[in-house]
């Protein structure tokens, strides 16, 4: 008896956000990223599927970590990589972004990786260029490769996504990671609970797929499989959105005592860079339950997979 089969193809021109992806798309990216991660761990060289392709990293916000991750991923697949860190102060938003896009488009790159401080920046760019656009973070909107790498890290650690209880704690309001990760995990069947001070918890998180949003971290932690801490930007502390660092740590810092409220085998995550002693205790960040360095490793694998799917020669 022949099996009923189906063919799948990743038919997106860009990766602008998790929103708009089908659970199958996500699974497909993760499966491919899994293979890239395994190959790298085994010391094997990846197929040079991006040979002759040009990838431009267009970063309007400084981010050494994310830019390096994209650069390494692209180079592993044989691409030519141009890094364009555009100083934020020299950019006058809107029109300049489009001008930059038109200029770059005339040089015919194959992939534009963009980070911009304005929400919707990647989308705007994608309308003006002929190549594939990867959103590496747009304002407080989305950071899809982060959402994917978090999901991949969890899948590799726990063996599944469906049915897991995930708690994401911190500055939810200003976090593009919270949005992308919540959506990705929700699409694959996890139960995502968001937690943070009231001033940093926006309304309508249920439309992202979050199961709940609460200011009570201790209550949220009960039965959690995954605890993900977000970075608190310094400018949000010290009175503007929160009273102080120590008060934040008192109610929302991840300590050993607090982690004991989650399941005994709960995994700790953080998208980095960390504020040790503010959102997370060093002993936890460096402890056996932390997969923070694996997240960085999976970041490269996920970006290899995304670059492959959008611009690889085999597709």
């Amino acid at each position: 008896m022949p099996k009923a089969g189906y063919t799948y193809s990743f038919d997106h021109a860009h990766l602008l956000g998790i929103e708009g992806l089908h659970p199958l798309d996500i699974t497909h990216i993760l499966d491919l990223a899994d293979r890239y991660a395994d190959a790298t761990r085994a010391g094997q060289r990846a197929d040079p599927v991006l040979t002759g392709r040009t990838v431009v990293n267009l970063f309007f916000e400084n981010s050494t970590r994310t830019m390096s991750s994209f650069e390494i991923a692209a180079k592993r697949l044989g691409a030519d990589v141009i890094n364009m860190p555009v100083a934020h102060s020299s950019v006058k938003k809107g029109e300049t972004l489009i001008d930059t896009a038109m200029t770059l488009n005339a040089m015919k790159p194959d992939v534009l990786v963009i980070r911009h401080s304005a929400s919707g920046g990647a989308k705007l760019l994608s309308r003006k260029v002929d190549c594939a656009v990867i959103n590496a973070g747009d304002g407080t909107h989305e950071h899809p490769t982060q959402g994917l790498l978090d999901t991949l890290t969890i899948r590799r650690t726990k063996g599944r996504i469906e049915g897991l209880k995930v708690v994401i704690c911190g500055d939810i309001a200003h976090s593009r990671v919270a949005r992308s990760t919540t959506m990705a995990l929700h699409l694959l069947g996890a139960e995502v609970h968001l937690c943070g001070p009231r001033t940093l918890l926006p309304p309508g998180t249920d439309t992202w797929g979050a199961a709940s949003a609460t200011t009570d971290f201790d209550a949220a932690l009960k039965g959690a499989d995954i605890v993900m801490m977000l970075r608190l930007q310094l400018e949000r502390m010290d009175g503007a959105f929160l009273p102080s660092r120590r008060e934040y740590f008192r109610y929302f810092g991840l300590t050993a005592d607090r982690l004991a409220l989650a399941l005994p085998d709960a995994t700790v995550m953080h998208p980095g860079p960390m504020n040790r002693g503010i959102e997370i205790e060093s002993a936890i960040a460096d402890g056996p339950r932390s997969v923070i360095t694996e997240q960085v490793e999976m970041g490269v694998a996920v970006r290899e997979a995304v670059l492959d799917l959008l611009a690889g020669t085999r597709t």
């Binding site: 001070p197 009231r198 001033t199 200011t215 010290d238 009175g239 503007a240 959105f241 929160l242 009273p243 102080s244 120590r246 008060e247 008192r250 109610y251």
Partner: protein, 429 residues
């Protein structure tokens, strides 16, 4: 150590009780209330014949300033507590605008400790809503609440920026904290020294218009609605402000209001010939407005009456009206001011007492402020009709800047108990 007080008129505003009877106190708490009983309670070791005096819960005052720490020449926690118990006030909240500002856990603990060591009444610290009351940086609301701060306020000058106020209220709401705010648009009122109107104009004094209060109240009430924060409007001075409160409450907002006792007693004309003892903020309004507030109190629209005790030494008051400090001593005259409304304006006695006992107790979630077995035995024995002449020389506060100075008043506390212990007894001078 057990005590029975008999032959008393028991007044409990929380339940509406107004009956003769006896009360039995043991280990600092009310153990039993024997309605209708004329003799001492059977279990009591000591007994006291009240001689038919009113027995009510001690007053709870939500707004008191002392000078401790930083301005002890004005008042200390100890001197304020002496004045308090003489006025029947057994619990009070101190404002955070001291030097340094009460914006830190250590200072909240300092007040609690100093009060325990030196004061005759129970003293509760409030916390600053913003650091140094600067109106910009949120203070450590959660940590201070955990350390015992019972409410959070920016003091006399409200947070000017609505966005910062909203965030502070949203944050306070998430920690279950009560925010107290002066409804005042400073852009309209900051240059004023008394109620705006014809009287101020003729006196050549700049005025504080009622709209400043309405606009400030509307802002904070709407923010309370959108953030879910419990809000207490501090020292409302017009009935129209209470309408703003009532509307929001009807929509489910947790909004409450206090009125200063002297605002119910005086009107703008009492400023008279530039009497700086009558310079307070909010200012004494016109007579129609004062009557409107009394009517609102009768309708139960005012959650609590406060003394707004704000002692100022002579060097702050012996100045031209415009240059003198705002503020009036009030701990010893709150009850008499309310009794004047009972005796002259038809305010029911139990309603008057509710605004200074069960009303404020409910706002703070305190067990006292009621005659109930298990409640702390913070009690007053008073004569609601006893006439007396208020002479500032005899006031117990360290600063005696009272607008009641020289006034004939009715209603006098004869004995005050805190935790079952007598801390004040009236001695005819």
């Amino acid at each position: 150590m057990s005590l029975s007080i008999h032959n008393a008129r028991l007044l409990d505003p929380a339940t509406g009780m107004d009956e003769p009877g006896a009360i039995f106190i043991d280990k600092g708490k009310i153990r039993d209330i024997a309605k209708g009983q004329s003799g001492p309670h059977k279990d009591a070791r000591d007994s006291l014949d009240a001689g038919g005096l009113c027995l009510a819960p001690g007053l709870i005052d939500l707004r008191v300033k002392t000078g401790e720490p930083g301005d002890e020449q004005k008042e200390t926690l100890a001197t304020a507590s002496r004045a308090a118990v003489a006025g029947g006030v057994t619990s009070f909240v101190v404002m955070p605008d001291t030097r340094p500002t009460l914006d830190d856990v250590a200072l909240v603990r300092f007040i609690t400790e100093r009060a325990r060591e030196t004061a005759k009444a129970r003293i509760y610290p409030s916390g600053a809503l913003t650091v140094g009351l600067n109106g910009e940086q949120m203070a450590e609301i959660g940590l201070m609440a955990d350390a015992g701060a019972v409410l959070f306020t920016n003091g006399d000058v409200p947070v000017p920026n609505a966005s910062i106020m909203k965030r502070a209220m949203a944050y306070a709401a998430s920690r279950g904290a009560l925010v107290m705010s002066r409804p005042d648009d400073r852009a309209l009122s900051a240059s004023g020294v008394m109620n705006a109107g014809a009287f101020a104009a003729r006196a050549g004094l700049s005025g504080m218009p009622v709209e400043a209060e309405w606009i400030g109240a509307a802002r904070d009430v709407m923010l309370a609605e959108s953030t879910g924060c419990r809000l207490l409007l501090d020292q409302v001075s017009t009935a129209r402000t209470l309408e703003i409160v009532a509307e929001a409450r009807a929509r489910g907002a947790k909004v409450h209001a206090t009125v200063a006792a002297h605002t119910l007693f005086f009107n703008e004309r009492d400023v008279g010939d530039y009497l700086t003892y009558c310079k307070v903020n909010p200012p004494f309004r016109d007579e129609e407005t004062r009557q409107g507030l009394i009517d609102a109190l009768k309708r139960g629209e005012i959650d609590a009456v406060v003394s707004a005790h704000d002692p100022q030494p002579p060097e702050e008051k012996r100045l031209p009206f415009g240059e003198a400090a705002f503020g009036a001593a009030g701990l010893e005259t709150t009850l008499a001011a309310l009794m004047s409304l009972v005796n002259d304006a038809g305010l029911p006695l139990l309603d008057a007492l509710a605004a200074v006992t069960s009303g404020p107790a409910d706002l703070l979630g305190l067990p006292q402020g009621r005659l109930k077995p298990g409640a702390p035995a913070d009690l007053i024995l008073f004569n609601p009709g006893k006439p007396w002449l208020c002479d500032r020389e005899h006031l117990r506060s360290r600063s005696t800047n009272s607008p009641f100075d020289g006034r004939r008043l009715q209603g006098r506390v004869m004995r005050t108990l805190v935790g079952g212990e007598t801390v004040f007894e009236f001695a005819a001078s």
